[in-house]
Symmetry: C2
Subunit: 564 residues, 2 copies
């Protein structure tokens, strides 16, 4: 085969059962999405590589998981746990212990490729229902056995790492049903371990399943939608891709039921109440450190895909894109659902990724939309039919006033096709020693450019490193910035150091440490400096109240280091 | 004068300085709003009274305040406090001690009319700034001197009663400025003691005062707007009359700075963040029990009164009004700003109060809109010009589909004229032994009718008692119910018993104990049963963290009874 037509042998085979790769691979075992030819060419150019560098895969993680690490629970404790949850719901094998200890961070992938395994639980438990959870928490609290909750395992910050061993409590195996749809209140009561697609499908099918008069939608569509769960969205403060309209996960929660060492309770079902600080809010973002979310009642929305209207624009500059976006979010004519702007580097690389025809590129350049200046904007509007018409018309006008040209629905439609599948590329790149990772921040309008420039400058200061940034969750007061960096890197220590530098710079330039990925153990060490010691002390006081024996998700989660 | 033309001698004179009446009178000393002739006739009929009953006023509270109650602080403590806040900002006189201990509950009014004074502070302090507050809190914490915060004194639940003596800390005297408008972020930083009209006027005048390019509005207009403060809105979880569009106070808060015994801190300025449970949320609704709000950054909105569109409708029944309202709130075409529906009794009495011409009444009845069935709906839409047009058109259509006829802007305009002045009637009624009071709850759609009927039935079970109810703050998941009761009653014990029965029934029928008035000391005793002991324990744990010595607003506030 001639080099001209060379294609890397992107893996198209499901990882072997029991292999390390089966643990770190994103999404469906049979699911793949490979870099486009243009992307492949871009990587070679950017990283000074040749086809030869893509002839042999590195550290694929195809070995079988062998742990050789005896658990520390006594056989009597294991028996007790089995008697609570049922034999068939308790696993002690190596593979389960590793699988249910791992999320999807880049660091985990790098290490699992080499067969390096960090902390795991002694035992994996799949509770059947909230009553099982309650008994397990009571028992583990009495016995001082740590519990780490595992739902989808899509954490990108070691949120489900059993840093102190003990129990991995997997809520997605059984506690994954849509329990009730209340059509009058437009709410749905759901098990924490229900995955996005099942939840959305059940809501779309509410007339058939729950005898409602209408179909509903959950309104929450993170990139991880297919492989994340409702409970995970809530306890990590996630945001969906349509959050600009529907709100973040914290806004969509109506009430929650928790099992904690300090007791089991359900917050009350009220649309609003002035009865003191809201425990319902206090629990959002607690990431399993206070207790376990066993049921959640979510706000739901009418399902009206027929009213959806897509738009895409090209802005001449990042400043123009930001100015238009701020004007759109503050103008009070309603809000788009999905709304994204890409910075110049992401725009240009994105045009390659999505395969924008060359003629369009030429046309854009002739019109003055120049590479490394122009910025892509895309999205859609949802809601009532007349509302979506109005909002699209108004935002289009503002975009044009800021120098944009409309690209019709083209880019938005293209983007939607791959909205959930991009993470699949990570394995392909990793097979050839290329790493793709992200960090995201919340930021006010008045600090957006400074933060963007500061963090980007740090990332770009590393030679041969791509940095693509977009804003994808909008508020009248600001937005988020999502930094994607791609580099040739396989050394875990080098990666860690680089990532630490990025987070240091996020902090230095005034971004929030996380916008919608939560904190986990990864960002924990920055928390006290970020929030200040007085606010960290509030979180620690709550921790002490809910979990006096430090059994809930211990070992650095949220920066709440346990005393022991 | 003939009885036919008799008018009660409604008081038109400001209360004497230093009198009890000057403390309990609502609003401006020179401000009055008297019952209309129709109302006067209605009261006579309802309570079986004659003009003679309105010839002599009862217990007007015109006596001078004399306390004869020495404070318990040592002279050295007083001197220390003076050295912190300045001599001129520390008051020890009887009148100040009583004035800054009282809110606007009916019970307080009944007792002050008789010269009965409950707990007061030993000393009244008017801090000059947040640095004074910090020093006072540090000193009082070291000396175990209780502090009760007083801002506007509009509390309707003993929220500013110094139940353990000590210091009344008045933040509205000096800490009442608009400190900064951030036009990019659409936020305003404001002293907690700034009153509504001053705040709104400053935002409307932002171009002149802060060199902004646009005018802004605060979006928060409670009935108490003229006599309540921004800080009070936030710490009691208030709602403004336009909350359906702008959100409740808790939604409009961007960040807060607090002085607590556990330290001083400001929550971070981010439009969204996923860094654990949000301390910014935890403090909302804390009612001075955790610490003192010394600065708050609020979201602000573009001031576009030219786009405002008013509407009013008459629905044939309460069910039709509720059904239409739910449809409007769930249809996703945008939201009205002010939106209110009155139940049949409020509608009929309201028509009298607002002086709806008899011909309209006749017309309505002929069209089938019958007394004690028909329900008034009124409101307005704010925002972008095209948005307000759309929202008004859409909600009008839904109202018509539910059997309503449009009354044009008439009722909304009428209502707006008196939106802030109705509380003034309380003194007039009280002068003749008639009491008007309110309680309000949050409720989901699916429990609205049951709650309305249950609470109303209890109130109406007392002979000769009016009960008017409206819903005035709407959400996709439900609304509030605002119960107004009017009765001939002067005995405080009887009043307390009746009020207790209403709250018991609110609890029994599943309403939240408060929708936007907070909890104070009045509703505190119901809190544990309402939230459950596990959730009360969370609030107590926070209390213990922030205020280990129980000096902050102690004595039953939020139901957090101190240990001492």
């Amino acid at each position: 085969m001639k080099a001209k037509h060379f294609h890397p042998d992107w893996t198209e085979k499901a990882p072997a059962p029991g292999s390390f790769r089966s643990i770190f691979k994103y999404g469906d075992a049979q699911g793949f999405k490979h870099p486009s030819d243009n992307w492949y060419e871009m990587m070679k150019t950017e990283f000074h590589l040749s086809d030869d560098d893509f002839r042999k895969k590195q550290e694929e993680g195809n070995k079988q998981v062998i742990l050789n690490r005896p658990g520390t629970l006594t056989s009597s404790q294991i028996e007790q746990i089995k008697s609570i949850a049922g034999d068939q719901n308790v696993a002690l094998d190596d593979y389960s212990r590793v699988k249910y200890a791992y999320g999807k961070t880049t660091e985990e992938m790098l290490e699992l490729r080499q067969g390096i395994v960090r902390e795991v639980a002694d035992v994996v438990v799949h509770p059947r229902d909230k009553f099982d959870v309650r008994k397990i928490v009571e028992y583990c609290n009495a016995e001082r056995i740590p519990i780490t909750v595992f739902s989808a395992g899509s954490s990108v910050n070691f949120g489900c790492r059993p840093a102190r061993g003990g129990v991995s409590l997997v809520v997605s195996t059984h506690m994954n049903k849509l329990l009730d749809v209340n059509e009058q209140n437009q709410t749905a009561r759901v098990g924490p371990g229900m995955f996005g697609p099942a939840y959305e499908k059940a809501l779309n099918s509410a007339p058939e399943l729950f005898h409602t008069s209408r179909r509903y939608t959950c309104g929450h569509f993170p990139q991880s939608f297919e492989y994340s769960t409702v409970g995970g969205w809530v306890v990590t403060l996630g945001s969906g891709q349509a959050s600009t309209y529907y709100g973040d996960a914290c806004d969509i929660v109506f009430s929650q039921e928790y099992v904690t060492p300090a007791g089991t309770f359900k917050t009350l079902d009220f649309p609003a109440t002035a009865t003191g600080p809201k425990v319902n809010d206090i629990l959002k973002g607690s990431e399993g450190t206070f207790g376990i979310l066993v049921e959640v009642t979510m706000k739901i929305f009418r399902y009206m895909p027929e009213n959806r209207r897509r738009f895409s624009f090209m802005f001449p500059t990042w400043e123009a894109a930001v100015n238009a976006s701020r004007e759109i979010m503050q103008s009070e004519f309603g809000k788009p659902a999905i709304y994204r702007i890409s910075d110049p580097e992401e725009t240009d690389r994105g045009l390659k990724l999505y395969g924008m025809p060359g003629i369009v590129d030429t046309f854009l350049a002739l019109r003055g939309f120049l590479p490394m200046q122009r910025c892509l904007c895309l999205g859609n509007v949802e809601g009532d039919r007349d509302y979506t018409k109005l909002v699209k018309r108004k935002l289009t006008r503002i975009a044009r006033l800021n120098g944009a040209i409309s690209l019709g629905a083209y880019a938005a439609t293209k983007w939607e096709k791959t909205r959930y599948t991009e993470p699949y590329m990570r394995e392909d790149l990793g097979d050839y020693g290329i790493l793709i990772d992200t960090l995201e921040v919340g930021v006010t309008w008045d600090n957006l450019h400074r933060l963007h420039e500061g963090v980007r400058a740090y990332i770009k200061s590393r030679p041969d490193t791509m940095c693509m940034t977009h804003a994808s969750h909008f508020y009248p007061q600001g937005t988020n910035l999502y930094f994607i960096f791609i580099a040739q890197m396989t050394d875990t220590a080098e990666y860690r150091e680089f990532q630490k530098g990025i987070i240091d710079n996020i902090q230095k330039f005034g971004g929030s440490l996380s916008h919608h990925h939560g904190v986990g153990r990864m960002i924990g060490p920055w928390m006290e400096a970020h929030l200040g010691k007085e606010q960290m002390a509030v979180l620690r006081a709550l921790k002490k109240h809910f979990d006096p024996n430090h059994i809930m998700n211990p070992g650095g989660q949220l920066g709440l280091d346990d005393v022991s």
